[in-house]
């Protein structure tokens, strides 16, 4: 890239293949790890192959099933947003391979610090998917108890969770010094290619290296930070940055669920067993909009999107399962039925979710009593009670517009 020249937001399709695969000659990261070809053929890999060799047919079908259901969930959430049931939605379509592959590599004792798009990872943690929607329905800033599934709350300030993951990992390592009977554990910090430019990623990586913390940095490079392409964030493959911090960095085909699974299992074992941090760059593509408020037609080419269609992580896994005779039409039809039922339950669940009372917003500001909270709550109650009295006298004042008018 020339000095002073920012890449155009529209991709030049001539450079597309290069942007998909990275430029091997300019890329000091060894070839991007891939175990499944686009046609669903299994490749040999001396380093990572062993991590998927022992998978049972049930487990292999499970990867597809997870990806399918999470995509179905995503579609339903998008529809719910369109119908006004959610205030916003952040779709994950295209990133199922990166999320299911990595999520299925975790052990219960590991702890995940997500950004806001990790619905697939949440699913692998056994989190009730409807709970994810509480935040997007506008009734909670959280939505679940992170300790139940070891899956932290979503964070909207980009990269802020990265140092939290490092600190938590430092705590895990300390806990094991005190009590060696505890199982080996690690944290995973998820963030995007855009967020990788934030200072907190850098500071988190410095701390992780300094204290050899058991943390896996999992960057989903989905090529876009809203409308800004990865090239504006980094002039080298993101995985290469790890070298500068002194720990391994691996670029993996993020649309290859098996490769992601293998690499993440390797990284987690490395971290848990005292090897220190690892950075994984999952090379993937956001097929959908950034959020339901976004319009990708304003910044990207349909040719670019089409080029990624045959790399769809679901399609690739389906080809593999069919090639191997591990799944037939009946399997896929049953799954579609399961997806429909899940969507119906989800919709019912969401529509039953009610907003909390406003007074609840006073409840958890502090863990210990704080007089200002009490004072303002009392004031608020007095104010509300005043209207109750006025309402009795003059029902017309219940309409806020009418109140304003007479004021």
């Amino acid at each position: 890239m020339d000095v002073g020249h920012l890449p155009a937001s529209e991709f030049d399709s001539a450079g597309l293949e290069q942007s998909l695969m990275g430029a091997p000659d300019a890329n000091p990261v060894p070839d991007m790890v891939q175990l499944l070809t686009i046609d669903g053929e299994l490749l040999q890999d001396d380093t990572y192959g062993s991590y998927v060799q022992g998978l049972t047919p049930e487990e292999l079908r499970g990867f597809y099933r997870d990806m399918f259901l999470v995509r179905r969930f995503d579609e339903e959430a998008t529809a719910l947003q369109r119908q006004g049931e959610l205030v916003m939605w952040v779709p994950l379509t295209g990133q199922e391979g990166a999320q299911i592959g990595s999520g299925r590599a975790l052990k219960p004792q590991d702890y995940v610090f997500p950004t806001y798009r990790e619905h697939g990872v949440a699913y692998t943690r056994g989190l009730e998917l409807a709970q994810l929607l509480r935040r997007f329905r506008g009734i909670s800033h959280g939505g679940w108890d992170p300790r139940e599934a070891n899956f932290h709350l979503y964070t909207l300030v980009l990269a802020a969770q990265v140092p939290h993951a490092v600190g938590y990992a430092m705590g895990m390592a300390r806990d094991r010094l005190v009590n060696p009977k505890l199982p080996e554990a690690a944290t995973v910090a998820y963030f995007g290619d855009g967020a990788s430019s934030e200072g907190d990623v850098h500071e988190g990586m410095v701390f992780a290296a300094s204290y050899n913390a058991p943390v896996v940095f999992f960057c989903q490079n989905n090529h876009w930070a809203i409308s800004v392409p990865t090239e504006v964030q980094s002039r080298i493959p993101l995985a290469n940055r790890a070298q500068g911090y002194g720990f391994p960095g691996v670029r993996v085909d993020g649309n290859d669920v098996l490769a992601v699974h293998a690499v993440t299992r390797w990284a987690l074992e490395h971290a848990r067993s005292g090897g220190g941090p690892v950075l994984i760059e999952a090379f993937t593509y956001r097929m959908s909009a950034h959020t339901t408020a976004d319009d990708p037609t304003k910044y990207r080419l349909s040719a670019d999107e089409e080029a990624w269609l045959d790399r769809d992580p679901l399609l690739r896994m389906e080809k593999y399962l069919r090639n191997q005779g591990l799944a037939d039409d009946a399997f896929f039809e049953e799954l579609r039925e399961e997806g429909r039922n899940m969507a119906v339950r989800l919709r019912e669940n969401v529509q039953q979710m009610e907003a909390p009372g406003f007074e609840d917003a006073f409840a958890d500001v502090y863990a210990e009593a704080h007089p200002l909270i009490r004072e303002e709550l009392d004031e608020h109650r007095r104010y509300e009670a005043g209207f109750a009295g006025a309402d009795d006298a003059n029902p017309a004042t219940t309409d806020p517009a009418a109140r304003e008018h007479t004021a």
Binding site: P146, L153, G167, A367
Partner: protein, 325 residues
């Protein structure tokens, strides 16, 4: 049992007691280990508790606060030292958007009882970013508690109370009072750290001060006495929450109020106190509440900082104005 010590020594002893009483507590910050911090407040602690509990961190404020949050989520009690007031801002994001909101965002499921110590304020003749008073910027954020000791007794206990508190607490330490000596009773805490103290009784006017300006307010009250004015001095101690009851009660008695702090007057804590007192005790006031604080400018260069800092004369002048009503 009472011992005389400086405020820096009292904080050191308080941290030592916290490390002894809470096996999960740990200190983290820049240069706090072998050096004992640039103000030597943590001196000797690494030697006695080890590098695992008194951690020299990489030089990264967001990293310090951010990893402290992670450690707190794991059950640890981190006490972070920020080297100087003007250098807390790289960590401001972590403090205001993450630390302050962890408890409410999780609907009470999680807490992050991180303590952040910040040496603050001027009067030490230093260069840019070494003399600021950013307390109002933090007090404006719900979810944080902010305290500031003005004497060794409070310094010794407040740091321990901060470590024991389930909420995040920022302890603003008045660095120009680190060498102030006083008696410390190590057997019993002063009181609730979030209450104000009347440190001098009076009947004609009240001065509310905190941290570095409490000795200045006391000296002004002593000088005013020579003019026949009986001035009450309230040491606020806690900036969030503020003990408005003690302040209002004092004003009801004296009828006059001056609030003083080093931070700029505009948008500062003094304005909040003035407004509250006007709401609560309007009819007791003989004069408007007056504020004596810093000016709306970057903290000035050392050679002229004495014009910026509230001193005895500026407080006496404010008292004169108050009595002129």
């Amino acid at each position: 049992m009472s011992t005389t010590m400086t405020m820096a020594k009292a904080i050191n002893a308080g941290l030592r007691a916290a490390l002894e009483n809470h096996p999960n507590s740990l200190l983290m910050g820049e240069d706090i280990g072998s050096l004992g911090g640039v103000y030597r407040v943590t001196e000797g602690l690494k030697a006695d508790f080890g590098a695992d509990r008194v951690m020299d961190t990489p030089l990264a404020e967001s990293g310090i606060i951010g990893t402290a949050i992670g450690l707190a989520l794991r059950g640890y009690l981190p006490v972070c030292e920020i080297q100087f007031d003007g250098f807390v801002f790289p960590g401001f994001n972590q403090i205001t958007t993450q630390l302050a909101k962890m408890h409410s965002r999780s609907e009470g499921a999680l807490s992050a009882p991180v303590v952040i110590r910040i040496p603050y304020g001027g009067g030490i003749g230093s260069i840019e970013h070494h003399s600021e008073s950013p307390e109002a910027l933090f007090a404006h954020t719900a979810g944080l508690r902010i305290i500031t000791p003005s004497n060794p007794q409070d310094a010794y206990w407040m740091i321990q109370q901060a470590v024991a508190c389930k909420d995040p607490v920022i302890v603003f330490e008045p660095k120009r009072r680190y060498w102030l000596k006083g008696d410390v009773d190590t057997t019993a805490p002063t009181s609730d750290p979030f209450s104000a103290h009347i440190v001098r009784e009076g009947t004609d006017a009240t001065i509310v001060a905190y941290g570095p300006l409490v000795p200045v307010a006391l000296a002004a009250a002593a000088a005013a006495e020579e003019d026949g004015r009986s001035v009450e001095v309230v040491d606020l101690r806690s900036i969030s929450p503020i003990d408005f009851d003690t302040v209002t009660e004092s004003v009801r008695k004296t009828g006059r109020l001056i609030v003083t702090h080093e931070a700029p007057t505009f948008g500062g804590i003094g304005g909040e106190i003035a407004a509250r007192v006007a709401e609560r005790a309007f009819l007791s006031l003989e004069a408007p509440v007056l504020r004596v604080g810093g000016f709306h400018m970057p903290y000035p260069v050392a050679k002229v900082e004495e014009h910026y800092l509230p001193d005895i004369d500026r407080l006496l002048e404010a008292l004169d104005r108050s009595f002129a009503y």
